[in-house]
């Protein structure tokens, strides 16, 4: 893999990671608040958590492959910073949600 292709796929994987982080947070928080979503995940994937993981893998793979062929790789650094921010916001949002949920504030 030459340097340009490597940078393209680095940017693509970072964008894929951003999408996966956002998707996991949305499926987790919305799934707790809106029972039909969690039920659909359970019924389709046998367990809601397996469903979230499977959908995140699919989203990450598709976005990475698609972006790997269309992006230039010039914004790989920027994409990595956004991937860091997305992962941190996702982690804080999910943890914060479960704390509030435990105290029945949401």
């Amino acid at each position: 893999m030459n340097n340009k292709t490597l940078m393209r796929f680095l940017q693509a994987a970072a964008i894929g990671s951003i999408v996966a982080s956002i998707l996991i947070a949305i499926l987790t928080i919305v799934g707790e608040e809106w029972a039909p979503l969690k039920d659909w995940l359970k019924n389709t994937f046998t367990h809601h958590w397996l469903g979230k993981g499977a959908l995140a893998i699919v989203a990450f793979s598709l976005v990475t492959l698609w972006q790997g062929y269309v992006c230039s790789g010039e914004k790989a650094t920027q994409a990595m910073w956004y991937a860091v921010i997305a992962a941190l916001i996702s982690a804080v949002a999910m943890t914060g949600f479960f704390i509030l949920h435990t105290f029945q504030l949401v």
Partner: protein, 149 residues
């Protein structure tokens, strides 16, 4: 708990710790002035496979045993928050880590070819994020284990 489930649980913990150790090694080597790329690349691969296999073994234990046997014990016990906060957060935050390790893999290969300082800063931050989330997930695992007792 069957021998197979016990093995899955032990493997989940051990592989997760291997992943954590490897991502720590990756971080410590990447931030050096002249990183030893051979070690960095190997450590990044070990971190990726460690977290991936920890996910798979943990998933089996979690779906087959934890939700059916352990969760009701914790929720009806003295420390229900061990599940309601720590397990719920742990199982979902964990999902973020393998994707970060894939990006880290591409990043170390890119850095090996092109030691750009801005790229190195972003890659170090990304690897550090995977490391910190991994440490928090491991710490939550210890709290959850304590919550069963």
């Amino acid at each position: 708990m069957s021998q197979f489930l016990a093995t899955a649980l032990v493997l989940h913990v051990v592989l997760g710790l291997i992943g954590l150790g490897a991502i720590h090694l990756t971080f410590m080597q990447v931030i050096r002035k002249q990183p030893p790329w051979g070690i960095v690349v190997k450590a990044a691969w070990i971190a990726f496979f460690g977290f991936l296999l920890s996910w798979m073994t943990g998933a089996y234990y979690y779906v087959v045993h934890y939700g059916v046997v352990v969760k009701p014990l914790i929720v009806s016990g003295e420390f229900p928050w061990a599940h309601q906060v720590f397990m719920e957060a742990k199982e979902h935050v964990f999902l973020l880590i393998p994707f970060l390790t894939v990006v880290a893999l591409f990043a170390v290969y890119a850095l090996r070819e092109n030691e750009n300082p801005a790229l190195k800063s972003a890659a170090s931050a990304l690897i550090a994020t995977a490391l910190v989330l991994g440490i928090l997930v491991a710490a939550a695992g210890v709290i959850i284990s304590g919550g069963v007792r």
